[in-house]
C-alpha cells in the first residue's frame, strides 16, 4: 500500500536547484532530450506553483498569518524566495489533517489543500442499511473536516470562524436537519454554522459560490446529489481565488465530481462497546477511504477509520 513519496510533496527547495542546473548540462545533447527536459521543468514549475504559492495567496488574502518577516508574494525573488515564504508560512499554520492516521500520512507535510474543493461520498451500503445513515456519516465527516481546519491567528479568532452549510430542502427532509446539541460531539460549536436551505441544486451552487467569494468563512459545505464538471470547476476556481476550502457531500452512487483536490468515501463500521457495559454502544467508528488525491492520481490512496474525537466517548 505505501507508495514512494510523490514529487509534489518533496520540499520545493530540493527540487529547484535540479531544474535550474539541468538545462545547462544538457545543452549539447539531442533536441528530443532537451524538449523532454524542458517539459519536465515546466511540470516542476507547475507543481511548485500549485502548492507553496497557494499558501502565499491564502495568507495575502486573509492578512492574518502574515508575519512581518515573510516577504509579500510580489516581492519574493524567484523560486527560492517562494519556497522560503512557504516554509515560513507552514510554520505559522499547521497542516490541515483529517484525523485518520493513514490518510494523513498520504497528505504529506502540507495537509489538505485549504484552497481546493474536496468531495465526500458516503459508501454505497453493502448491508441492507438505510442510505441515510451513511449520508449522516459523510456529513459528520465533512463537518469534522471543516472544524479541523487550522487557521493561523490567535486562539480566539480560531474559535469564531463561520462555516456555511448549504443543503436543499429535500435533503433536509429526507436525512434530517442539523441538530445543535449533537454538533458538539464533533468538536464543532453550533454557533459557527450558517445554514442555507435551498430549493434547487442551482441555488445550492450559487450560495456556495457566494460563500466562497465572501472570504468571511472558514469553509463551505454543500450537500448535492451530483455535481457536474462545469460547476465543480467553477467552485474550485472560486475556492482558489478566495482562499476558502469547499467541501461537497454527494450521493453514494453518482459519478465522482471533477476538478476536486481530493475525494473521500465514508462508510460505517460496527463500533466498540462501552467500557462498563458490553451492550451499550461505545465510541463509534467510521471507515474513511481517501480515493483520490491530486498529484497521487485516482484509485485507492489510503484507508482507515476515524475514531470518535477525544473526550466524547464514555
Amino acid at each position: 500500500m505505501p507508495s514512494p513519496v510523490p514529487a509534489s510533496h518533496a520540499s520545493p527547495s530540493e527540487t529547484s536547484p535540479l531544474s535550474v542546473s539541468n538545462p545547462k548540462e544538457t545543452a549539447s545533447r539531442t533536441k528530443t532530450r532537451r524538449q523532454k527536459l524542458l517539459a519536465l521543468q515546466a511540470e516542476i514549475d507547475r507543481i511548485e506553483r500549485e502548492q507553496p504559492a497557494s499558501f502565499v495567496s491564502s495568507a495575502a488574502f486573509r492578512g492574518r498569518a502574515f508575519s512581518p518577516l515573510a516577504p509579500l508574494p510580489g516581492e519574493s525573488g524567484g523560486r527560492a524566495g517562494r519556497a522560503q515564504t512557504a516554509c515560513r508560512l507552514r510554520r505559522t499554520s499547521p497542516p490541515w489533517l483529517s484525523g485518520n492516521a493513514e490518510a494523513d500520512r498520504r497528505l504529506g507535510t502540507f495537509g489538505l489543500d485549504g484552497e481546493g474543493t474536496h468531495e465526500i461520498k458516503p459508501a454505497p451500503p453493502s448491508l441492507p442499511m438505510a442510505s441515510a445513515a451513511a449520508f449522516a456519516a459523510a456529513v459528520a465527516f465533512a463537518l469534522q473536516l471543516a472544524g479541523r481546519r487550522p487557521l493561523p491567528g490567535s486562539a480566539q479568532e480560531r474559535a469564531g470562524g463561520t462555516i456555511l452549510f448549504c443543503a436543499s430542502h429535500d435533503v433536509m427532509r429526507e436525512a434530517g436537519r442539523l441538530y445543535g446539541p449533537g454538533l458538539g460531539e464533533l468538536g464543532l460549536a453550533p454557533e459557527r454554522l450558517l445554514i442555507v436551505e435551498t430549493v434547487k441544486s442551482a441555488e445550492t451552487l450559487w450560495a456556495m459560490e457566494e460563500g466562497l467569494k465572501s472570504q468571511a468563512l472558514d469553509a463551505v459545505i454543500g450537500c448535492l446529489e451530483e455535481i457536474a464538471l462545469l460547476p465543480a470547476r467553477r467552485l474550485s476556481l472560486a475556492a482558489k481565488a478566495h482562499a476558502t476550502p469547499c467541501l461537497f457531500v454527494t450521493g453514494a452512487r453518482t459519478p465522482p465530481a471533477g476538478a476536486t483536490a481530493s475525494r473521500w468515501r465514508i462508510g460505517l463500521r460496527p463500533g466498540g462497546a462501552c467500557l462498563f457495559d458490553r451492550n451499550v454502544p461505545g465510541p463509534g467508528l467510521c471507515e474513511v477511504r481517501l480515493e483520490k488525491l491530486r498529484w497521487c492520481g485516482t484509485g485507492l490512496v489510503a484507508e482507515g477509520c476515524v475514531p470518535a474525537p477525544a473526550g466524547s466517548g464514555p
Binding site: 449522516a136 456529513v139 449533537g182 454557533e191 441555488e203 465572501s214 463509534g284 473526550g311
Partner: protein
C-alpha cells in the same frame, strides 16, 4: 407651505381601454361604457365626443340611445381601471414621493419643494401633461396650496387648447377660487342642490356668510322637505342628524379649500427618509447603462447617508419606464450600511431581471429605513483582520443570500432551554441572529444569548434530527422492553447494541388546559447501533396515562405499550 398637484383624467376608462386594445372604436364616434345599475343599464364613462353630445355618466343607456340612436357601448371594466390608475400613480412618484389615486379618475401628488427641478411650476405641470398626453390620456392638472383647491382647479378650472393646466398662487387662492361653482367643494349632491336653491352658486358667496347661520340653515327641517312627511318622528330625527352632518361638511370643505384646516391624506407608499434621483433626456435601454447609472445613484445615496451619520437598513430602487410604468426593487441589509458597492451588489441581483421595455428615463433610490451609524467604514484593498471586519463581511454575505433566497432560509442555530429534543434548539433567521449578536456587543462569542449549548450531553445527541419523527415498527424484547429490531423506510435493522431508556417527560407547564388526547406524552429514548454500524436515536411514546400503564404492565398480552418513532441519526463517530 405645501403645494399639491391634482390630475383629473376625465375620459380615463375609455382611454385606458384604447391603450390595451388599440383597435377600439375610433375617437370621433361617441362611445360609452355601461354597467347594469339599479335602473337598468347605466352609463359609467363616456369619451370626449359622447360628452360633447350631452351624455353623462349615470345616465340610463336607453335615454342616451334616445338622444343618439347610433351610440356604441361596451361593458365597463372598473377593476382594470383602478389597477391601471394605481400603476399610473406609482409612476407619478417621479414628481414626488407622496402621491396616491383619488376616486376613480384622479391622482394627487405632493410636489412641495419639487417644482424648481423642472424649472418652476409651469415647467413641472407642462412636463406632467406632456408625458401623460403622450400616453394617450387626456389630463387636466391643477396646482395649489391645498389638496382641495388643486382638486377644484383640475375639475372646474378653465382649460382650453393652450391652457392645459391651472396654477393658483398662495396669496391669490381666495379670489381665484371665488368664482368656482359650489360643486367644486366635493359635497354631497343633496347639499349642492340645497346650496343652489338658496342661491349660493359660487364659492365666493359662501365666504362672507356667517358660519352660524349657514350651520343653522342646514339643520333646519326644511332640508329635503318635499320628501318628508312619511317617516314620522323618527324619520325627521334622522333627517335632522343628516342635515347637521351636511352642515359640518360644507364648513369643513370650505376650510379645507382655503387651507384653514389640514386634510389628512394617505400616500401610496411611506415617504422615504432619503432619496436620490436622476432622469435622462434619452431613455436608457442597455443593462450596462442602467447598472452604471444606478451605481452613480448608490454612490450619491451613500454620500448623503454619511453626511447625516446614518446607515440604511432598507432601500428601494424605482425605475421609471418611458411608457408610463414603473418597476420597483427592494433590498434589505442586516446591519446599517452605507457602502455603495454592497448596496449595488444587492440591487443588481434583482434589477438584472427587470425588463427595460421602451427604455428607462428616470431612476431613484430611496432609503426607506435608516439607523444612526457612527464612524466611517474602511475601504481597503485587503480586508482588515479581526472581528469587526469579519462580521461586516459575514453580514454582507448574509444580505446577499437573504436577498435572493428569503430571510427564513438563511438560518443560524440558537440553543433553547428545554428538555424536549426538538425544542432544545431554534433556527433563527441569520439576519436577526447577527443583529442580536451585534446588540450584545460580543460578536462570535457564546454569550450572545442567555442560554448556552449543552456541553457534551450524556447520552450523546444525534447529528441529524428528523422533523417530524418517523414512525417505525419495532420488535421488542418482551412486552414494553428494549428494541431488538426495527423497520425504518422498509429496511430491516437489527439492533446489536443499545443504550437506554432515557425518559424525557413532557413539560407539564405547557400542557395546562389541553384536552388529554392532545397532551404531549413522555418518551423513552434509546440510542441504538444496528448491525453494520449505523446508529439511530429512537423513542417509544408512552401511553396516555402513566397509571394505566402500570396496571397493564401487570398483565402481559395487553395492547402494545406505545408507538415507536425514529428521531435522529448519529454521524458514525458519536
Amino acid at each position: 407651505m405645501k403645494r399639491f398637484v391634482h390630475l383629473w383624467l376625465p375620459y380615463w376608462p375609455i382611454e385606458r381601454m384604447r391603450r390595451v386594445r388599440p383597435r377600439l372604436i375610433a375617437d370621433d364616434q361617441p362611445l360609452v361604457l355601461v354597467t347594469s345599475g339599479g335602473r337598468g343599464i347605466e352609463i359609467t364613462a363616456t369619451n370626449a365626443r359622447a360628452a360633447g353630445e350631452g351624455l353623462w355618466a349615470g345616465q340610463a343607456l336607453a335615454d342616451a340611445r334616445a338622444m343618439l340612436p347610433g351610440l356604441r357601448s361596451l361593458p365597463a371594466e372598473p377593476e382594470a381601471d383602478a389597477t391601471a390608475l394605481a400603476a399610473l400613480a406609482q409612476w407619478c412618484g417621479r414628481y414626488g414621493p407622496q402621491r396616491n389615486v383619488y376616486g376613480k379618475s384622479g391622482i394627487w401628488i405632493d410636489v412641495t419643494g419639487v417644482a424648481h427641478l423642472f424649472g418652476g411650476e409651469a415647467g413641472l405641470l407642462d412636463d406632467i401633461v406632456r408625458r401623460t398626453e403622450g400616453f394617450g390620456v387626456t389630463v387636466r392638472a391643477g396646482i395649489a396650496d391645498t389638496f382641495a383647491a388643486a382638486h377644484a382647479l383640475a375639475r372646474f378650472g378653465a382649460f382650453g387648447k393652450k391652457q392645459r393646466f391651472c396654477i393658483v398662487k398662495a396669496e391669490s387662492a381666495q379670489t381665484a377660487l371665488a368664482h368656482f361653482p359650489v360643486d367644486a367643494l366635493r359635497l354631497d349632491p343633496q347639499a349642492v342642490l340645497l346650496l343652489k336653491r338658496l342661491g349660493l352658486r359660487r364659492i365666493g358667496q359662501l365666504y362672507d356668510l356667517p358660519r352660524a347661520s349657514l350651520q343653522r340653515r342646514f339643520n333646519d327641517a326644511n332640508f329635503g322637505r318635499d320628501k318628508g312627511g312619511k317617516g314620522g318622528k323618527e324619520g325627521r330625527g334622522r333627517r335632522k342628524v343628516r342635515g347637521a352632518e351636511l352642515a359640518v361638511n360644507v364648513l369643513t370643505r370650505l376650510d379645507q379649500l382655503l387651507g384653514k384646516v389640514t386634510e389628512p391624506l394617505v400616500p401610496l407608499a411611506e415617504p422615504p427618509v432619503l432619496n436620490v434621483r436622476q432622469s435622462w433626456t434619452d431613455p436608457l435601454i442597455s443593462a450596462e447603462g442602467i447598472a452604471a447609472e444606478v451605481r452613480t445613484l448608490a454612490v450619491r445615496l451613500s454620500e448623503q447617508l454619511e453626511a447625516q451619520g446614518l446607515g440604511c437598513r432598507n432601500v428601494r430602487l424605482s425605475l421609471y419606464r418611458a411608457d408610463g410604468t414603473a418597476a420597483e426593487v427592494r433590498a434589505g441589509t442586516s446591519m446599517a450600511c452605507r457602502d455603495a458597492d454592497h448596496l449595488m451588489r444587492l440591487l443588481s441581483e434583482k434589477f438584472a431581471s427587470i425588463d427595460a421595455g421602451f427604455g428607462i428615463d428616470a431612476a431613484e433610490i430611496d432609503a426607506v429605513a435608516v439607523e444612526p451609524m457612527g464612524g466611517r467604514q474602511q475601504r481597503l484593498g485587503v480586508e482588515q483582520g479581526g472581528s469587526t471586519g469579519e462580521t461586516r463581511v459575514l453580514t454582507e454575505l448574509v444580505d446577499r443570500l437573504v436577498n435572493r433566497l428569503g430571510s427564513a432560509r438563511v438560518q443560524m442555530l440558537e440553543p433553547c432551554e428545554s428538555y424536549i429534543p426538538e425544542r432544545a434548539e431554534r433556527r433563527l433567521p441569520a439576519r436577526d441572529r447577527i443583529a442580536g449578536r451585534r446588540a450584545q456587543g460580543c460578536p462570535g462569542s457564546e454569550r450572545s444569548g442567555t442560554v448556552r449549548w449543552p456541553r457534551s450531553p450524556r447520552p450523546p445527541r444525534p447529528l441529524l434530527l428528523l422533523a417530524p419523527p418517523e414512525p417505525i415498527r419495532v420488535e421488542e424484547d418482551g412486552w414494553g422492553g428494549s428494541p431488538v429490531s426495527f423497520v425504518w423506510r422498509r429496511v430491516d435493522h437489527h439492533v446489536s447494541r443499545f443504550e437506554g431508556p432515557e425518559r424525557i417527560a413532557p413539560e407539564w407547564w405547557r400542557e395546562i388546559g389541553r384536552p388529554p388526547a392532545r397532551q404531549a406524552r413522555g418518551r423513552d429514548y434509546y440510542r441504538v447501533e444496528a448491525v453494520g454500524g449505523a446508529r439511530f436515536w429512537i423513542f417509544r411514546e408512552l401511553p396516555e396515562n402513566s397509571e394505566s400503564e402500570k396496571e397493564d404492565a401487570a398483565c402481559p398480552g395487553a395492547p402494545a405499550a406505545g408507538r415507536w418513532f425514529l428521531h435522529g441519526l448519529y454521524g458514525g463517530v458519536s
